[in-house]
């Protein structure tokens, strides 16, 4: 064997070892769950074998059959079809909260860190005050005032979560701002906007993505709870939180599958987002 080949296999072995250390099976499973959930959220209505909204009261809580793998729900609707269709409403709310929060949070954090002084003080104390509202409470309040549905709770949760995002990002932006390369760019006469957009924010991107991932999980838990309480997505629309609630009577009557299956969908997706978010955060920290 030539020396070159020996070096190459050594490098390959090190490369393989490095890869194995970095990408854990847990991470792959989490990513797969998220990809699958996203696919179902997009294509759910096409995948559903039956009409998810067609009630058939003679099939009240009929259990699993070969044609209807998860059986029927409290109104005799196909549970599997409702789960597949419900993925969309269950995922689109958290997506909205995440997008609004990250945009607003990053904007407030970067401008506060960049300008400092009184502006920073005002933004920071403003964020501290918004901390006074627990997310769920603000969502219930918004739903009471503006009517039940997806929009009011999503906006309320976005407001309630923005301080959490902005506080972490502001710290990161302050650290980044103190780096010599920023001063070098300023000396060269680059505008603040250009430095922030082209250098500062891209350098914080790993943290932004990690936070967005974790936030999605939290928002999903809260929005599902709001739906469960009857203040979010309204029945008969298929939504995982709504499904837990409308089939809860089945738990006591011995037909736990419909309610549990919807709960399981929420938990699996949320756990996947939390694990992915945690790992992304760790990798971002390790790279620094």
């Amino acid at each position: 064997m030539s020396v070159g080949a020996g070096l190459a296999t050594g490098a390959w072995r090190r490369y393989r070892a490095g890869r194995q250390r970095r990408v854990s099976p847990l991470l792959i499973i989490s990513a797969a769950v998220i990809v699958a959930a996203t696919f179902v959220a997009i294509a759910g209505p096409l995948l559903a074998p039956y009409n998810p909204d067609l009630p058939n009261l003679s099939q009240y809580f009929v259990g699993s059959t070969p044609d209807h793998l998860l059986g029927y729900d409290a109104q005799g609707r196909d549970v599997l079809s409702r789960l597949l269709v419900g993925a969309r409403t269950s995922m689109i709310g958290p997506l909205g909260v995440t997008l609004i929060c990250m945009t607003l949070g990053a904007l407030l954090a970067v401008t506060a860190a960049w300008r400092g002084g009184a502006y920073d003080a005002v933004i920071s104390s403003g964020l501290d005050i918004v901390f006074a509202f627990p997310g769920i409470l603000l969502a219930v309040l918004a739903s009471a005032v503006f009517g039940a549905g997806l929009v009011a709770p999503v906006l309320a949760l976005s407001v309630a979560y923005t301080p959490y995002v902005a506080r972490v990002l502001r710290g990161a932006a302050l650290r980044e701002r103190a780096q010599p390369y920023i001063a070098a760019l300023e000396v060269q006469g680059a505008s603040a906007t250009a430095i922030c957009m082209r250098h500062l924010i891209p350098n914080m991107l790993h943290l932004i993505i990690a936070q967005a991932t974790t936030l999605f999980g939290y928002a999903m838990v809260d929005l599902a709870a709001i739906s469960y309480l009857g203040l979010g997505i309204q029945p008969p629309a298929a939504d995982w939180g709504v499904m837990v609630s409308e089939n809860q009577q089945g738990i006591i009557q011995g037909f736990a599958t419909p309610s549990l299956a919807a709960g399981l969908c929420i938990v699996v997706v949320v756990v996947a987002f939390n694990i992915l978010g945690e790992r992304l955060y760790e990798r971002g920290e390790a790279r620094r």
Binding site: I129, P134, V140, F146, A225, I251, S259, I266
Partner: protein
Amino acid sequence: MRLRYFVRRLAMLIVSLLVASFVIFAAIYLAPGNPIAALSGGRSIPPDSLRVLEARYHLDQPFLVQYWFWLTNALHGNLGISITLRENVSDLIASRISTTAGLVLYSSILIIALGVGLGILSGLRPGLLDTSVLVITAISASLPAFVAAIVLILVFAVQLQWFPSIGNGVGFLDQVKHLTLPAFALAVSSLAIVARVTRSAIREEARREHVQTAVSRGIPTALLIWRHVLRNAAIPITTISGITIASLIAVAAVVEVVFGLAGLGAYLVLSAQSKDLAVVQGISLLLVTAFVAVNVLVDVLYVVLDPRVSLGSRQ
């Protein structure tokens, strides 16, 4: 320096509460629908009575004056009248507050006893126990309270029949029995988070030099853990316990609905559905106050445990 920190924190508390009360009042003020119509139940009212009603509820006054009336009344314990039950909101709240307080207290005890206990155990004993605690807490940390609740009902109320699944119960022991499943459902995710933070705090502390020195001096293990590891690890543990316990105050609403408990949160949800806005205002105000107060308490406790914090706040 400590005193200055406390005063600053107290001022922040008051400002937070003022802003929160303003937001709660303004939200309800802006809500579609006319309060007089809600009072009359939609019947038409002669103009004279309308004027009398408007004057009685200060509806003819500008927005800020109305806010001031509402706030001063609220501080005197008068939160208005529920339009569905025609009773004082304060009385309605008073009759339900003990259920919510009991539930949150019960959960807090579970979180501190089991969460910190599990964290210490798995932090000190690496191996099978530690690994299983890590896996279980990773999943239960993301478990929504209402999903935990239906699983607990299925296992402990329907199949094992150890605990009741609905209602408040009569008498102290029966009430505790009725609150057990709700308290576990409410505690489960916070418990997992507290256990994880405790575990890593213990690990971090056990690696530190002063602990290694103590080991080499031959200090008995129990004393070593109590005096050198736990005392320093107490700071992150207190913080995370406080934050998660404060968050229980709002999430309790969901658990109360699942278990049909007559608590504040369940009543808030019911009033939100039936648009009984005076009740929504009153309960929101109370819950926000409790939430902020617990958070301030945690911050104060944090300074007592770690004096470096108040020194840092000078800058």
